[in-house]
Each structure stands twice: as structure tokens, then as C-alpha cells.
């Protein structure tokens, strides 16, 4: 079912913070309606790379991006592209669940409201919470504060919030690292369900999670120059049983990093 080609592509993507290069020359194809994992040791630029896809790096004044990021052929860093427009299509879930200090309903409704949504907000909220596998647990207390939920529930709320604006891609930056193992497995199951309708990119420290959850895996690494680069990219099944590059093998067998 890859007949429509990759949904996101990077070509020669490099990221600088002032003059220091953080990530160099990444060429990556992100498959449509699949889960792609980005793994690598700390400081290799995984999060930096991820944030290029929804131009969140723009929020850091010293960050500068070179190269192209193509979203269905459109260069996200082109001249007349508005970053806020991109973020409706490419959503993000963060490492620590960050629901706004508002009610559960208002959290999910936030995205549609600020984007001038004209239809039924109630429907959108319900649909998003259902899709995030949270509806059953909160349908009787939508007005309760979002902060009264458990960690795992809060993260699913953040996913529902992201879904409410109908993105096509969901970026996840270590979404389970602040959660307990049960909550983690719940989120992983949710991810697999969501991948039928959305393309997902997940950055993770957890090798087993990447192996469990992703269809494709990209391995990033740093060398002495402290610049992150792409070492290997392929089907997860292959990367985790028989990677091509010995550096990839050294990392996933825990022999370094």
C-alpha cells in the first residue's frame, strides 16, 4: 500500500544552532500510514530532526535549517509557507504530557477553536477522544480539570488534542518515557491503531519499543564532531534482526550508547 509514495521526505537536511551544526545532511523517506521510529544515543539530534517536520525549530531563535523537507512534494521551508498552517497537518505529542490547565473538553477543543472551526465542537471532541481510546474513561467528566487525569490518560488526552485538528502526520517525541509500563503499552497499542489512518514518526530511547511498534526505523548517531547523522534506515524487522551497518548493530545490542 505504498503506491502513493512517502508522505514526508528530507533532502540534505541540516540543522544549525548559531554556527554549531547539530544535524547533518539527512535524507529520509517517511512512509505513509506507517510508524517510523528514530533511534540513537543521547544528543544525536533525534528531537532536533523531529522538530524539523513541523517547524517547531522556528521557535528557537538561534536555529537554522538547510536543505529540504518535502510534505507530499511541498517544501515546508519554502518562501511563502506559513509555519502555523503546517502544524494543522503535522501534529505533535511531547515527552511529558502537557495538557493545558483547562477542562478535558476545553483541551481537546482548543485546537479547533483557535483555527476557527465552524462545525460542532462537541462532535469533534467526542470523535477525537474516541480515537485516542480515552472517551470511555472521561465521557462523564468532560468538565473536570485535565490535570486530574493519570499520566497515561493525560498523554492520551494530548493525543486526542492533536487529533482534533485532523492532521495527517503525528510526531511523537518520546511519548512514553514519563509513563509507567502499563500506560506505555496502552499508548503503543493506540499508535498501531492510529497508524491505519495517520503517518506517525516516533523518537524513542527504548529499543524494544521501537522494535515492537514501528514499521521502519532510522538510526542516528554522533561522532567526535558532535554532529548527528543518519547511519541506517530500513524496515524495523531487518534493523533489529540483521542490520547492515555494524554501528547500528553495536547500538541496538547495547554495546555502546
Amino acid at each position: 500500500m505504498q503506491d502513493q509514495g512517502p508522505i514526508l521526505q528530507t533532502r540534505g537536511l541540516s540543522v544549525y544552532y548559531d554556527t554549531k551544526k547539530a544535524v547533518t545532511d539527512v535524507d529520509l523517506d517517511v512512509a505513509r500510514n506507517r510508524i517510523t521510529a528514530i533511534i540513537g544515543p543521547s544528543g544525536c539530534g533525534k528531537s532536533t530532526l523531529l522538530r524539523c517536520f513541523n517547524r517547531m525549530n522556528d521557535l528557537i531563535p538561534s536555529a537554522r535549517v538547510e536543505g529540504q523537507v518535502l510534505f507530499d512534494g511541498l517544501d515546508l521551508y519554502g518562501h511563502d509557507v506559513d509555519p502555523t498552517e503546517i502544524r494543522y497537518e503535522i501534529g505533535m505529542v511531547f515527552q511529558r504530557p502537557n495538557p493545558f490547565p483547562k477542562s478535558i473538553f476545553d483541551n481537546v477543543a482548543f485546537g479547533p477553536r483557535i483555527n476557527g472551526f465552524k462545525g460542532s465542537i462537541d462532535e469533534v471532541v467526542e470523535k477525537s477522544l474516541v480515537r485516542a481510546a480515552l472517551w470511555g474513561e472521561v465521557k462523564d467528566r468532560l468538565k473536570a480539570s485535565a490535570l486530574s487525569l493519570s499520566g497515561g490518560q493525560q498523554q492520551r488526552l494530548c493525543i486526542a488534542r492533536a487529533l482534533a485538528v485532523e492532521p495527517r502526520v503525528i510526531l511523537m517525541d518520546e511519548p512514553c518515557s514519563a509513563l509507567d509500563p502499563i500506560a506505555t503499552l496502552a499508548i503503543e497499542e493506540l499508535m498501531r491503531e492510529l497508524s491505519e489512518d495517520y503517518s506517525i514518526i516516533i523518537v524513542t530511547h527504548n529499543m524494544q519499543q521501537a522494535a515492537r511498534v514501528s514499521h521502519y526505523t532510522a538510526f542516528l548517531m554522533v561522532e567526535e564532531a558532535r554532529v548527528g547523522f543518519l547511519v541506517e534506515f530500513g524496515e524495523s524487522r531487518q534493523i533489529f534482526t540483521n542490520p547492515e551497518d555494524e554501528r547500528t548493530e553495536a547500538y541496538i545490542t547495547g554495546r555502546f550508547g
Binding site: 498552517e85 501534529g91 502537557n98 495538557p99 493545558f100 483557535i114
Partner: protein, 293 residues
């Protein structure tokens, strides 16, 4: 095998305990002294002035005769001036803080601006009075009016509001900002929907501090032309006025015993108004804070 022999441990524990208790006692003593002094002051005030408080006192105007002294003009003047000062400093202060913390954050301009604002807080208040006289009274032709007085005090307390609002805005966790940007919010939307509501309690704290300061200011208002003897209520923003501290000061400088009583009564009134304003602001702040928990 123990690295440090037991006997040494015993001694240390005892000494630490003793030090802990001594420190606790010292803190308690300081609190008692501070509160005690406050209690003494309040008691003295109440004793001196409570008899002076009467309906005629509150609704009458000042007079040469102590038994007919009234505080109405001063109350109204204070309230009007402080309201003007509060509104102006709130608006300007919050806008400045938001600009410095959100739009120009981490820029060199912001750093310099913040240093200067902090310094302004330390400028003697009389300087603001002279400034107010020159700019508001003369150049802008507002005369020695309530409006001019309000603006003068607004300038005085502006640094307080800016600093408090700035801290409140800064205290909003970046994760909320990131979360809203990631949903496609523009900078303005992030500020209005997320930052502002969360920073509001902190901003209100700043306003409380500002208002408390403003209501007690005497020198700058005298310098820009507030009156000391006002036998009428200020009836428009451009009318002349007096404020409670000035009226109280005026009475304390008179020799008659009756005026001393009036002054004490006036102080009580001032404190009551101050408390009411603060209470109102605190209630407002709590309402906002509880919403978010």
C-alpha cells in the same frame, strides 16, 4: 566494619538537633517581634482614633474646627487617583511585560530595558512628582487634576507592575506554549489563550502591590499640586483633589488635640480602604488560581 566510629556520630546528632531548635526559636521570636510591633501600632491607632469615626466624619469635609473635620474629599480623591493609577499601570505594565518576555525575549533590547525598569523602581518618589508636574500638569495641560495625579502615580508604580507581570509571564511553563504552538496557534493566540490566563494571578499580585504603594504616597502628589485643604468633592477627572495621606499629614501638623484624633481616625480609614482593595484583588486572584488546579 564502620568507617566512622559510633561515638563521633552521637555528638553530631545532638548538636544538629540543638541547632535546629535554636534556629526555630529565633524565627519564632522574629515573627513575634514583627507582629507584636504591628499589633501595638494598630492598638494605638484604634484607641486614638476609633472615637473619631462617625458618619459625619466620613461624609463631611475638612474644616478649621477639629470637631467638624471630615474626610469625604480625601476618601474620594484617594479612590479616584488610585483607580486611575491602577488601570493605567495595569494596562501599560502588562503590555510592556508581555512584549519584553514574549516578543522580544532574550534580545539585547529586552535585557537593557529590564535593567532600566528595575532601576526606576528605586527612584525617589518625589522625582515622579516633579515629572508629573512638568509633563501632565503643564505640557499636557491637564492641570493639577485627579487625572494628572493618577498618571503620576501610575508612572511611580509602573515598574512594580512590570516586574511582577514579567515574572508571572516567565513562570508560565514552556511546555504549555509548545503545546499550543504545535496545534497551529499564532503567537498572539498563545499569549491570549494560554500565557495570559495563567499569568493573571501573578499580574494581580503586582497590581495589589502597586495599589498598596500608590494609596500611601504623599510627596509626589504634593509636588504635582494636590491640595491640602479641599472643601469639595472632586467631581470630574480634571478637578483638583486631595488624598488621604495628605489630609492625615495636614491634621497631624496642627496643634489641636482634636486634629490628632482626626488624624488617627483618618489612618484607620486609610487602612480599611487598603485592606478592602487588597481583599478584593486577592479574592479575584484566588478565583483565577483555583480554576486552574
Amino acid at each position: 566494619m564502620a568507617v566512622i566510629p559510633q561515638t563521633e556520630f552521637q555528638r553530631r546528632r545532638a548538636r544538629r538537633k540543638w541547632m535546629g531548635r535554636a534556629f526555630h526559636a529565633m524565627c519564632l521570636l522574629s515573627v513575634c517581634i514583627a507582629l507584636g510591633m504591628l499589633a501595638v501600632l494598630l492598638a494605638y491607632l484604634l484607641i486614638q482614633g476609633i472615637t473619631g469615626i462617625s458618619w459625619s466624619f466620613l461624609t463631611g469635609f475638612a474644616s478649621r474646627h477639629p470637631e467638624q473635620a471630615g474626610i469625604k474629599a480625601a476618601i474620594l480623591g484617594s479612590i479616584y487617583v488610585v483607580v486611575v493609577a491602577g488601570l493605567v499601570s495595569f494596562t501599560l505594565g502588562v503590555a510592556t511585560a508581555v512584549y519584553l518576555e514574549e516578543y522580544a525575549a532574550r534580545s539585547k533590547f529586552a535585557k537593557i530595558a529590564k535593567i532600566n525598569i528595575a532601576n526606576l523602581a528605586g527612584v525617589p518618589s518625589i522625582v515622579y512628582g516633579i515629572l508629573g508636574l512638568q509633563i501632565f500638569v503643564h505640557s499636557l495641560h491637564l492641570g493639577k487634576s485627579v487625572l494628572a495625579g493618577g498618571f503620576t502615580l501610575a508612572l511611580l508604580v509602573l515598574p512594580i507592575v512590570i516586574v511582577a507581570a514579567g515574572e508571572a509571564v516567565r513562570a508560565v511553563p514552556p511546555s504549555f506554549r509548545e503545546g499550543s504552538y504545535a496545534l497551529g496557534a499564532t503567537r498572539w493566540q498563545v499569549i491570549w489563550h494560554i500565557v495570559f490566563p495563567l499569568a493573571f494571578p501573578g499580574i494581580l499580585t503586582g497590581v495589589i502591590l502597586a495599589v498598596s504603594r500608590a494609596i500611601g504616597e504623599t510627596a509626589p502628589l504634593i509636588a504635582m499640586g494636590a491640595l491640602t485643604f479641599v472643601p469639595f468633592s472632586p467631581d470630574s477627572p480634571l478637578s483638583r483633589f486631595t488624598v488621604l495621606p495628605i489630609q492625615i499629614f495636614n491634621w497631624t501638623s496642627r496643634p489641636q488635640e482634636g486634629f490628632q484624633e482626626a488624624a488617627a481616625a483618618g489612618i484607620i480609614v486609610l487602612l480599611v480602604i487598603l485592606l478592602m482593595m487588597n481583599a478584593g484583588a486577592v479574592i479575584l486572584r484566588n478565583r483565577f488560581q483555583n480554576k486552574w488546579d
